[in-house]
């Protein structure tokens, strides 16, 4: 063939496009797929603070009786210790993506899993 099929520019363009595609393939999911869930901590009937569910953290929440220790680990939140008498909240276990509420009534601490997703649908086809 007299003239070659691809010019140098073409080859560079193909390489660049493929590189961008591969790069986006790895970057986009990290940017877009945040699991949307967060942990909302209420103390004395008002929202005290919110934390993302996907970051490990351990903190103390002040209440009327003392400090309730809450831990977020591996995408699950649970009450580690509480100054209350029956320790029902500590025995409630942990919450993850599925959502739910942990309550310590004596110390007035409420741990709730919230989600940014507006409805339960993934998508609507036209």
């Amino acid at each position: 063939m007299k003239n070659q099929l691809l010019t140098v520019g073409d080859k560079l363009l193909i390489a660049a496009i493929l590189a961008i595609a591969v790069l986006l393939f790895f970057i986009l999911p990290r940017l877009l797929v945040t699991d949307g869930a967060y942990v909302e901590i209420s103390s004395c009937r008002e929202v005290w603070r919110t934390y993302p569910l996907n970051r490990d953290v351990r903190f103390e929440v002040p209440g009327p009786l003392g400090k309730t220790v809450i831990q977020i680990k591996n995408g699950r939140a649970r009450i580690v210790s509480s100054p209350c008498r029956n320790k029902i909240c500590v025995n409630m276990g942990s919450l993850g993506q599925e959502g739910g509420v942990l309550v310590c009534v004596p110390n007035e601490v409420v741990v709730r899993i919230g989600n940014d997703r507006v409805n339960g649908l993934d998508a609507v086809t036209p």
């Binding site: 073409d10 595609a21 877009l32």
Partner: protein
């Protein structure tokens, strides 16, 4: 004489583009969003044979007439097709005008295909489905655009060469 020839050529190209556009919607594919975009061959060929304005006209006319033929006029598919087609021809026109030395028909076609898909996805996000999750399809769509853009670019290259050969063969 030259004007009549140009007019008839453009009419033929438009007819060809509409037919390809319409025929392509009847191709069975398992992946819903995947299309070859063969009609873009004609848009690209018009760009090289007649220039940007005519190519834009052919592309827009092809989308309007093709959507009338398939009964999708005014539907979301039509909006996607319009946004994709317009941005593709704009990108190809830019590359053809300013970088025709660096890129051959294949490179121009590739850029057009990638822009087509990117614009289509953006339009889908803005108009149809406000959900970031569909942007995850971008890398996949870029990858398929490289393949289809390459194939279409080759086809356009042969088409353009053939038409030019016809021109030199016939003294008018």
């Amino acid at each position: 004489m030259e004007q009549i020839r140009r007019l008839s050529r453009l009419a033929l190209l438009l007819a060809l583009a509409v037919v390809i556009h319409t025929a392509e919607t009847f191709l069975p594919f398992t992946v819903v969003w995947f299309r070859f975009g063969f009609a873009n061959i004609i848009g690209l060929a018009t760009l090289y044979l007649f220039g940007f304005k005519d190519a834009l006209f052919i592309t827009l006319g092809r989308i309007f007439l093709g959507s009338l033929a398939t009964g999708l006029f005014g539907s979301p598919a039509f909006v996607l097709s319009l946004s994709g087609g317009t941005s593709a021809i704009l990108a190809m026109g830019l590359l053809h005008r300013y970088f025709s030395k660096t890129f051959s028909e294949i490179g121009v076609s590739l850029a057009g295909a990638v822009c087509h898909n990117a614009a289509q996805l953006a339009a889908a996000y803005l108009i149809l489905l406000r959900n970031e999750a569909i942007l995850l399809m971008l890398p996949l769509m870029i990858l398929t655009a490289t393949v289809t853009g390459f194939i279409n670019g080759m086809a356009a290259k042969f088409f353009i060469r053939h038409v030019k050969k016809l021109d030199t063969r016939q003294p008018n």
